[in-house]
């Protein structure tokens, strides 16, 4: 019997998590409640069984989260018996920062990145698990599994530590912290296959359902609550849709789909002809940089 690729990936992730718990002073798991987070949490349960995972979960709530996601989050944490820390930038929210008016960069800085940094600093977490994968984007292909951050949470890509064998050097200055990515070597297909195989409970939004939607800027948005600001002439229309990724509901596009089971979702993904991030502005970076090189007379 050979170990399957999923068994090897699982074993590697468990090994990484145990190293962190053995060597870090105060670890935490960043929990976005999405499919990757669901897999990461499932692996944590396995790594420490019969103990519950010996660290809290940290969710960064922008205030514009899907209600179904928040429900799933609370139910999951309660079921496992893990402490759940919810970080939210109330100050920015009170100051009127919202996804409709603020520029995208400002919004995510204020509602997602800042509260994350604040929460890590405030609680003194020295290691934080994240669900990032190397196949997500090209620059991630080179980030280490253990990625160090300065006291101001900055990443220095030029100063990464070599990772040899399965030996992770977690020694660090007191002010530094570590992001740990146990799913680094997983692909999107691995994630879905594993969810299917292990029957992991994921947020229902990944499955097709009839929801009120509006079409805006090429995105199919779901009207998740009454705060969704409708533009002139927009009338919500019921459509059978599902999500491939989850973010703040006024900014995350759904796809029309009838995939209501995991095999159907995987089937749809495998037959898809466009990448997960199609439609996002960042996607054509590589082409852009090639273009730039050409302009600079590289060829």
């Amino acid at each position: 019997m050979n170990l399957t690729h999923l068994q090897r990936l699982e074993s590697e992730a468990i090994h990484i998590m145990r190293e962190v718990v053995a060597e870090a002073e105060k670890p935490v798991m960043l929990y976005s409640v999405g499919k990757d987070s669901a897999v990461m949490l499932h692996l944590a349960k396995k790594a420490f069984y019969p103990s519950p995972p010996p660290f809290p979960l940290l969710h960064i709530a922008s205030g514009w989260d899907f209600q179904a996601l928040l429900d799933h989050r609370d139910r999951t944490a309660k079921e496992i018996g893990m402490e759940l820390i919810v970080a939210h930038n109330q100050e920015a929210a009170d100051a009127g920062i919202n996804p409709f008016d603020a520029r995208a960069g400002v919004y995510s800085q204020q509602m997602l990145i800042d509260p994350l940094k604040q929460a890590l600093t405030e609680h003194g977490f020295d290691a934080a698990f994240g669900g990032g994968r190397r196949d997500e984007e090209k620059s991630r292909a080179k980030e280490r599994i253990f990625s160090f951050r300065s006291s101001s949470h900055r990443w220095d890509p030029k100063n990464q530590r070599p990772e040899l064998w399965k030996l992770y050097n977690m020694n660090k200055a007191k002010s530094e912290s570590i992001r740990v990515f146990p799913l680094s070597n997983w692909t999107e297909l691995d994630i879905w296959q594993y969810i299917h195989l292990e029957q992991i409970d994921i947020v229902p939004l990944y499955y097709a359902a009839k929801l009120p939607t509006v079409k805006r800027d090429g995105l199919l948005l779901v009207v998740d609550d009454e705060r969704m600001r409708l533009e002139e002439g927009e009338v919500p229309e019921e459509k059978v849709v599902r999500f491939r990724t989850l973010g703040c509901y006024p900014l995350t596009g759904a796809t029309e789909s009838s995939a209501a089971t995991l095999p159907e979702i995987i089937q749809e993904m495998l037959l898809a002809t466009s990448s997960e991030r199609e439609g996002r502005a960042v996607d054509h970076d590589a082409t852009a940089s090639m273009e730039k090189k050409k302009q600079e007379g590289y060829f």
Binding site: N2, L9, L271
Partner: protein, 646 residues
């Protein structure tokens, strides 16, 4: 190219048909894939990017939108006319590299019907040796790319040597660009014969040669009609069937480094770890090392239920039948075939840091889940990675590879790297910068460390100290040249003598001229200088003496090393704090003047650093305290008499 594309379309069509018609059957099939990690060695000139790009493309890892971009780019900037330039898929990253991300190891993923693959893609030039070692450390297989027009080059030898050094058993020698030599068998045979000769010389036992063209697709995913004289498998077929490392490891005796003790309540105590080699079943007899205590496995606990058997590569939690001591760093092993323990080794080191190796300095060593202090001797030799020549060396610099002896501060559980990567591969970590400075591989332990057992002598250090009616101390004076260390240390010794204490003063005069007269003033020599003084001081403290040392000892790490040699509370660091401008103005020996004039090199404070003590036991500010006052303060502190005078 047109031919292989058609064939590729056929296979992917079948897969797509299965996905569309029976997704459950597809999932069932694909859940049982195994995984192979490999590294590609070569440079862009050898067609490495084209090969990787082709593997990604042929395995349908590229979506239509990405493909459209690739096709457009190929026409605009590609080197293949109207054809797709596969190298652009990979070289998109080169652009990012130039935008500031390190030239480094990138990991890429693709899958075929049988296996999932992780490719470590590293640059091939000599200045990236450490990157290649990093990528190779997790690889089951290495593909050595050779340009058919060029034959074996220096870099071919270097890559082969490094892959062999890191213990990769599966070597594929892919002779690329066969299309450019007219698929000439004679060219191929000549290259393979040359390679076989070289391989034997460096100890590579076997390798798999394949003639390919990454660009034209020959022998990549199907056997090419262009090479009828070749009767081996195509590259992907070989990658799909080659035996995996963790399958091989399964036949070896059980070893499991304990990562974490799982103790949710008083009734459960499990030992969590990833099995490095062997298999284990409930009831198996085991031994916990280094203690050597025996027990048997009561159960193998996982969230999916207890297992009847676990194998190399799996992460498990073991419950033992007996309550025995076992914690992180211990190794659970087969009772009848336990690994060795030792504290001195011969090793191969690959230096990975900008700062060169300092023989004698104490580094952290992580091996399995064990973390110990280790010091490295001056290398026996360095290896020229281009021709495997052994060169004399005093140290190792970035990307340097050499053989050196290494000593740990306590016994560790190990196996030779050739037998077990998990228990024979280690990293060294700088204690101050926390950087991973070296990767190492244990060859064997040195006989003397196995045979020398500490003699349990009757007259021990306690007896020595009792006889002298004093507590042993090492009073370590540190500070700039001319700060007043020797002056104050002399006064301290006089007072101790007057009090009837047994003491000895080690300083430049009695050490530099004798014990350390072979040492100069380079960083490496300074480290060795202090290490020897530390050892002498420790022996004298064992003899019950109060030892005073007066040396600049500019580096924190060495002072810390000496501190760690002694029982807690016996080491007193005295920082003689004189500002540089004051010491320079005093310039008792006229050394600063010489250093400023460039006649003295490596002079502390001028062109060599002094690392100020962070938490000295005693700090003397010589601009405010006289030598007499300082001496009194120090004597009182080390003899335990508290003084109110200062």
């Amino acid at each position: 190219m047109a031919r292989s594309d058609t064939e590729q379309l056929d296979t992917s069509y079948q897969t797509e048909a299965l996905i569309a018609e029976d997704i459950d059957a597809y999932l069932e099939k694909h859940q049982h894939k195994s995984m192979l990690r490999f590294i590609t060695c070569g440079s862009v000139d050898d067609g490495k990017s084209t090969l990787i790009g082709r593997l990604l493309y042929d395995s349908k890892m590229i979506f239509e939108d990405q493909l459209a971009a690739l096709e457009a780019d190929s026409k605009k900037v590609g080197t293949q006319g109207q054809e797709i330039d596969f190298a652009l898929l990979v070289d998109g990253l080169a652009a990012e590299r130039e935008q500031g991300i390190t030239i480094d190891v990138a990991y890429r993923f693709f899958a075929t019907e049988k296996r999932k693959f992780i490719v470590a893609d590293t640059p091939g030039h000599e200045q990236y040796t450490r990157n290649m070692i990093t990528g190779a450390s997790t690889a089951d297989l290495a593909i050595i790319l050779i340009d058919a027009r060029q034959g074996i080059l220096t870099q071919t030898r270097r890559h082969s040597y490094l892959a062999h050094l890191i213990g990769i058993k599966n070597l594929v020698v892919a002779v690329n660009k066969m299309d450019l030599v007219g698929y000439d068998q004679a060219v191929y045979d000549k290259i393979i014969a040359d390679y076989a000769k070289f391989a034997t010389e460096i100890g590579i036992e076997n390798f798999t040669p394949i003639p390919i063209s990454g660009l034209a697709g020959d022998n990549i995913t199907s056997v090419s009609p262009n090479t009828p004289w070749y009767d081996g498998p195509d590259l992907v077929a070989h990658l799909e069937t080659v035996e995996l490392t963790n399958t091989v490891n399964r036949t070896k005796p059980l070893r499991m480094p304990v990562q974490w003790v799982n103790r949710p309540n008083l009734d459960f105590r499990g030992f969590s770890g990833q099995i490095a080699s062997g298999t284990i079943k409930p009831g198996d007899e085991v031994r916990v090392l280094p203690s050597g205590r025996r027990s048997s496995v009561k159960s193998i606990v996982t969230m999916d239920g207890e297992l009847d058997e676990a194998v190399a590569g799996q992460s498990v939690t073991l419950v033992l039948a007996d309550e025995i001591d076992c914690s992180r760093g211990d190794v659970i092993a087969a009772a009848d075939a336990p690994p060795q323990t030792a504290d001195q080794f011969e090793t191969t080191l690959v230096w990975m840091d900008e700062n060169e190796m300092l023989p004698g300095r104490s580094y952290w060593m992580k091996i399995g889940s064990q973390m110990v202090s280790a010091t490295v001797q001056t290398p026996k030799y360095q290896i020229n990675v281009n021709n495997m020549e052994q060169l004399a060396a005093k140290t190792l610099e970035l990307n340097g590879i050499g053989v050196a002896e290494l000593a740990t501060d306590r016994q560790i559980v190990f196996e030779p790297y050739a037998d077990n990567r998990d228990l024979g591969g280690f990293i060294l970590i700088d204690k101050l910068t926390n950087a991973t400075v070296a990767a190492g591989m244990l060859h064997f332990c040195l006989r003397r460390s196995q045979n020398v057992h500490w003699q349990a002598v009757d007259v021990d250090r306690n007896a020595h100290a009792l006889q002298k009616n004093q507590e042993p101390r090492v009073v370590w004076f540190t500070g700039l040249s001319g700060s007043g260390k020797s002056t104050i240390a002399n006064m301290v010794e006089k007072r101790l003598h007057a009090l009837g204490k047994h003491s000895f003063l080690l300083d430049g005069d009695n050490v530099r001229h004798g014990l350390n007269r072979d040492l100069g003033f380079t960083d490496a020599d300074r480290v060795e200088n202090i290490r020897r003084i530390g050892e002498v001081a420790r022996l004298m403290a064992d003899a019950g003496l109060i030892v005073l040392t007066a040396f600049i000892s500019p580096f924190r790490a060495e002072r810390q090393l000496v501190r760690s040699m002694l029982p807690e509370g016996e080491f007193f660091e005295v920082f003689v704090d004189t500002p540089l401008e004051v010491a320079e103005e005093r310039d008792v020996k006229g050394l600063y003047k010489k250093a400023r004039a460039g006649e003295l090199k490596n002079f502390t404070g001028i062109d060599s650093d002094y690392e100020v003590p962070r938490n000295p036991e005693i700090r003397i500010d010589t601009t405010r305290t006289s030598p007499e006052e300082a001496a009194e303060l120090i004597v009182n502190k080390i003899t335990g008499i508290w003084s109110y005078t200062i």
